[in-house]
Symmetry: D2
Subunit: 157 residues, 4 copies
């Protein structure tokens, strides 16, 4: 269900999550409600992080949480009830406390791009909400991943 | 906004909350999505509890949370985009750890009843999820309220 | 994703849909928000209907929609972030214009039952909201299915 | 409830909508889920349009719908359960088929800014999804409003 056709293991290439559009996602305009794409993209990031061996719930129990700091999204074409979508999460940059993703939503049937976004997520302490370093293991994976990219970028803030 | 025309103060008579239907609440069938009525009813219960002087967030900070144990709902007629609704929360019964409400959703324009439900809410410890006594002040108010009702019922479980 | 391990084809046995809990599903009480179970159950019914060869969107284009008439749900134990759930949709009764389902939500890890519900869904004309006969093909499948059940029930209203 | 302290009538000055945070809006991180801000902002735009004398539902019956084309949002600080928020919708630009809004979410208690966004909304035909001219009356109001602004901008695309 929440799996994907990606290979298991800590390779972070082009991750995508298949998502079905249900009636709960649609609105009286007959299309998927615009805020729902943020849910879809959050699911894809969550599965990507899980794919890296990091669970959100175990994070919470260690006082680690993640919050979206900013995002920009373009809606290119509407999605409809029953559509099968593919949602990507591609890590494009990272600092000590944050990750930045390029994300896209595509309709599987006709391959049509429906939306694309850039999303920046920060790691915070669950209790205080203050920024904190990304978990050690995840931070290492991110650096390796970015280093292996043709247009590698690594920042320290 | 979330206020109501009810009198302030700890009288618990016939409480209702006005709610506007937004596009986020509707689905591709052109009506309010059925699960949204549970949101509306939860908002009305929350305002009723606030009206009694009890805040949910301060409860969380004291390890007190509330969970729905069971509910039964009848959908009588659909609500549409832009409708103004009135949602009631009427306490009809209570025990040491739970409250039971009769609730209704009515369209303001034509007075048409759209849904009615019975909802039982339990008080739990936030950390363990275990049932716990209702907060002292709230418990007292509930007893007074039920005692003042024509068809008063009080249970101990 | 929205698939299941059920065999394809128009057999309507014990249908279940795997569902992952995402952060969007949870609330500040640390558990899945109670209204979300109605979403989960609606997804399972949708997949079951699709499994029968009936798509909701093509229905809309033929002026056919489905609305929940009533439901009763018991919440037995909470679901948490990252949980893998299994949601069943079991047709237990049907009339000319309605279907009734027994549904359950179970946690996959420990097999713990989290919620169970009875949900009655009516077929309506999309434009008028008036009840209408279930589509011919679906109606036939329902009758066959109910006839094959040990405790078969069939009603005409 | 969905009213505001804004003066009635077709003046489009600094519009804001009060919004209460309910448990449905929060997530297991203890804060308002990031996608919910898009709901809040959509509600504020809806009330602003209603304030201009334009109802969304009557639009739908005339084959007129509105879709978000793009948005960029910064999350500055988290909102919590029970918070009272103020959400603004300020028209800053418009073309024949679109409107652009600056929007902000502020906590009423301490006046703290929580999020700000720029949102571009297009008018489309409900059936085809194709861009279409804004309704005559609304278009006129927008032009007047933009003309009256110190930093007036008007575009034709």
């Amino acid at each position: 269900m929440t799996g994907s056709s990606n290979e298991p293991g800590p390779t972070l290439e082009a991750y995508f999550l298949p998502i079905r559009v249900y009636i709960e996602d649609t609105d009286a305009g007959g299309i998927v409600f615009h805020a729902k794409y943020l849910h879809y993209m959050e699911r894809a990031r969550t599965e990507w992080v899980r794919h890296c061996g990091v669970g959100l719930r175990s994070g919470l129990s260690e006082n680690i949480s993640y919050v979206v700091q900013k995002l920009a999204i373009h809606y290119v074409a509407p999605a409809y009830l029953d559509d099968e979508l593919e949602v990507t999460a591609d890590l494009v940059d990272a600092g000590r406390v944050w990750m930045e993703f390029d994300q896209a939503v595509t309709r599987k049937g006709d391959g049509r791009p429906l939306a694309r976004a850039t999303v920046r997520v920060a790691c915070v302490a669950l209790d205080s909400g203050r920024p904190r370093r990304l978990p050690e293991d995840l931070g290492q994976l991110l650096l390796q991943h970015l280093a292996s990219k043709p247009t590698s970028q690594q920042h320290q803030e």
